[in-house]
Structure formats: C-alpha cells, structure tokens
C-alpha cells in the first residue's frame, strides 16, 4: 500500500496554498504509507533563461567548492539553503548558453565531482522534497507552509521492494519539470530497467517506481506527447499501478487494467484533486460537497492541463533542455 495525491488548480484558485492543500490530502494517507513521504510542487515559473534545482547533500560540503564548480555552467547563480538541517539547497542557474543545457552531462559531472550531492529536481517550476517520516514534518522542515503553485503531487510510502530512505521515496523525476508518484508494483521492472538503461537512462535507486519516470522521459525525448507516452505505457508496463504524473503544464492519473490500486477524483470549480481514498478529499479546506467525485475505471488515463499556462515559454525551454 502507498498513498498518492495530486492537485491542479483552475484559474480562479490562484490564492490557494498548494503545499497546505496537498498536506491536507496526504495526511490521512499516512495510514497507507507510514514510512516516508514526499511532494513535487510546481511553483512560479522561472524566466526562460533560468533553471531551478533542488540539491541535497548527505554530508556537509564546502559550499565555496560547490559554488566554484557550478559557476562555469551558469552566467549567474543564486544559492539558498532550504530546510532546517542545512542539507538542502535551492539553486537558481542563469544559463550561460541559453540555447543549450546538457542535463545528462551536468548530472554525470555532478556525480563525479560531488558524489554526496543528489539532484532532487530540476526545471523551471518543479521542486521535489521528500523525507522519511510524516507529512507535517516534511512541510515544516523545508518551510513549505506558504508554497503557492499551480499544481503538485504527493506520496506516502509503505515500502514493499526497496530500502526506506530519502532517495527511495517518491516523487521520482527523470527530466526537466517531470515528477511521478506511484502506488503499486511493476512486475516487469528488471526488463524495463535494462531496456531504458540501454537507451541511456541513468537509474539512481532500485525502487521500481523510478522506472516510470525514466520511461516517460524517454518517450518525451522521442518527441512523444504525454498522451501518447501514457497510452504506450499502459501496454509496456506490467503489474499493478495507479500513478500520478506531473509536467510543466499537466497532471495525469493512470490506472492499470486490473484497477488494483485505488484513486478518487474530485472536480470542483476551483480545482481537480486526486487522492487514494475518498475521506482524504473531505479534509480539503472548503470541500465542495456538490463537486463531482468519481473513481477512474480500469485502464483509464486522465489528463488535466493548466488553463492559463503559456506553452510558448515552456516550449522554448523544452527545446533547449531536451538534448539530454
């Protein structure tokens, strides 16, 4: 068992606090997943020549060294610690060459020079925070109480197949502004992983859910749309899964053909919210009892898009960073 939750606001709900709404959905799901939790939050978009990264270190690093190492990648740099244990940093990079940013090369170089540093997320909006322990602690630790954004996904984990630690927690990411949270088991994981690795994807954990993120990123790099990628995934992914995927402008919910893992969809004039169990939705502030609540069918794919999002800017950014 695991718990998944997601929110995408409609235009009228800009003033709502994404992190708190997600927390409200996730807290009751701790009974489905007490081991660890995590959120992928899509905040205010950066300028098109900026990149936002969340870095997390296991041991203390000499910040000056990291700063010096990062500088050649950027024409400008902003460096801020986040959270209370000074293990995480929010880094904003101004791309030196706005036509080209090789994320793959950057990741490899980072792993070589700073093996103790993990790139938690990268993109223009996405910030991923995850931690062993309860949801409230996570939100508090990273000071996310007032995080406003357009959409986001979250997860509470009950580990079934790999170790309980920060990096094996959800959400998983693989590329720019891409995050997934998954409830279930992938039964053709090893085969899928070897196929994806041969295609150049670098797995950072042995959590089966990570394969979903890499699978989707691989599809995106082949110029497939989210819609195409998810339809293909339904055929290629074996096992039980109900998962949420978020990109710069979309959130999608996918349920396997056995409908073995639960999800409920709540659609109000303010937002679309998804949670593994119905009672979580009641926890939402201003729960609208007239809203449509339904359960997706077996093998159903649902995709919601941000209404006011400027795709032009995102496309420019995507063009630049898709050279993984």
């Amino acid at each position: 068992m695991c718990g998944i939750a997601g929110i995408i606001y409609r235009g009228s709900a800009k003033q709502r606090c994404l992190s708190l709404d997600l927390m409200k959905l996730l807290q009751p799901l701790e009974s489905r997943g007490p081991d660890s939790c995590g959120v992928g939050l899509y905040g205010e978009s950066m300028a098109f020549d900026q990149l936002k990264m969340i870095l997390r270190t296991e041991e203390q690093v000499v910040l000056e060294d990291l700063w010096d190492w990062l500088l050649p990648f950027a024409s400008g740099l902003e460096f801020k610690p986040v959270g209370q244990d000074s293990h995480s940093y929010r880094v904003v990079l101004w791309w030196q060459d706005p036509d080209y940013f090789d994320l793959g090369a950057f990741k490899r170089a980072l792993a070589q020079n700073f093996p103790q540093i993990h790139l938690m997320s990268v993109g223009q909006q996405l910030e991923i925070y995850k931690e062993v322990g309860p949801v409230q602690g996570l939100i508090h630790k990273y000071g996310l109480e007032e995080f406003k954004g357009s959409h986001g996904i979250g997860h509470t984990r009950m580990a079934t197949e790999s170790v309980v630690d920060t990096y094996h927690s959800h959400p998983f990411t693989s590329g720019f502004d891409l995050s997934i949270v998954h409830n279930g088991q992938i039964s053709n994981y090893y085969r899928l992983r070897s196929v994806l690795e041969r295609r150049g994807m670098v797995f950072e954990t042995d959590n089966d859910s990570e394969a979903i993120a890499h699978y989707l990123n691989d599809q995106f790099l082949q110029e497939k749309s989210l819609e195409e990628a998810l339809h293909r995934l339904l055929k290629d992914l074996d096992g039980t899964y109900t998962f949420l995927v978020a990109t710069e402008d979309k959130m999608a919910l996918v349920r396997d053909k056995f409908a073995a893992k639960p999800a409920m969809i709540y659609e109000s004039p303010e937002m679309v919210a998804i949670a593994s169990e119905y009672h979580c939705l009641l926890n939402l502030e201003g729960f609208d009892s007239t809203a449509a609540i339904r359960e997706p069918d077996a093998g159903e794919i649902n995709i919601w898009s941000r209404q006011e999002f400027s795709l032009k800017r995102a496309r420019e950014a995507r063009k630049v960073v898709s050279n993984l």
Binding site: K257, A259, P262, E277, Y278, H279, E295, D297, A298
Partner: protein, 243 residues
Amino acid sequence: MKEPSVSEQTIVHEVTLDCAPLSTREINQQLKALAAEGLQTINILNPAGRHNLAVGVTEPVKIQFQGPVGSYCGGLAENVNLEIFGACGWSLGENLMLGDILVHGHASSNAGASAHGGTIRILGNAGPRAGISLKGATLLVTGNVGYGAAFMMQQGCLIVCGNVGPNLADSIYDGSIFVGGAVDSLGADARFEPLSEADWNLLTRELAAVGLVAQDYDFKKVVCAKELYHFKAKDWAKWKDAY
C-alpha cells in the same frame, strides 16, 4: 429505590451515533454493545468515508449510515440490516453471512466479495470485480458494473440491471448471473443460458424490492459452462487464457 412501572419506562428503540469524535474501533464496539442491548435502529452520522464500519456485527439490528462509507463496510456481518445513504469504498459486505445491505449510491471495487448469504442491493453502479468469489449471497446492482464481475463465483446470484464490463464470470464454478444491459465479454468457462420461468419469477421478486420491474429489462442469464471442471488436454487453450 422503587422500580419504575412499565408505563413509566421509556423503551429506547432508536439511537443516534455521531462518528466524528470516535475512533473506528469505538464506533464498532458501540454498535455491537447497542445491538446487544436490543436497540432496533442505530442512526450513524458523519461516517465520512471511514473504513471497516459495522464489521463483524452479528445482532439483528438496523444500522443507517447518513453519508458515504469507506472500504469493508458490513464485512463479516450476520443478521444485520444496513442502509447506506451515500457511496461505498472497496469490498462492501465482504464475507457477509446473512442480512441485508442497501446502498443509495455507488460502490467501488469488490462489492459483495465472498459473501456467503444475505442480500446486497446497490442502487447505483459497482466497480470492478463485483461479486468476486460470491458464495451464496444475492448481489443486485441497478446500474453498471466494471470488469471481472463474479470472478470465481461459487454460489448465489448476481443481478445487474445495467451493463457489465469485460470478462464477466471468469472461472465461475456455479450460481446464476442476470444482466439487463450489454455484456462486454464473458470470461473463461462462462456461457449464456435461456431464462426459465423460475428465473423471471426470481428477477421479478428481487427487482420489486427496489421498485423496479424485471420485464423492463432484456435480461440475459450467464452460468458456468462446466467445461473446465476436469482438465482435458484438448482444452489447453481455455486454461491458458483463464486468469
């Protein structure tokens, strides 16, 4: 102190229980205690989609849920009379032994799973695997049901007024299934059979209980083809394609 005379006694038949301040265990303990005291009707407020409500209640008591309930509502119960004014989570009335469950709303997956006896009526749709491993109960759904309904059903009766999804009655052993709408596909070892007069009488009786008329529907009957009771090498393809 003087015993009150019968005329002075107030006999309480009905009581209201608010779930909000109680844990699920407390709710179920109170339900059992109240039922044991001889209460006839218990009205439950704010069930708020909680799981495991009214599980293991074995007294003949009427319990009304004023709102949606979570998974396993009425599971392992016997003799109860449950009425739910709202939707249900997974496995409604799982392993019900005897009694009645009436849902004014939709039910999620596995409704009536393994139910041995009694009647479960859903005035709405039911999700995938409705009546999975049904062992003798009657499960009536006035709307549609999802895929894999009556999977490995062993006894009893599944009545669906609407449509059913793929793989109906896969690997069924016994029992009867009636579908008023369209059947997407049958599972392994299931087959259609013409309805007898007794079947129509049964449908008339069961549907009348929820205010419907059996003749308004084009009921089809599905039973076990009994071709997979014994393994025969020439049936290999059927076995292979069974779940």
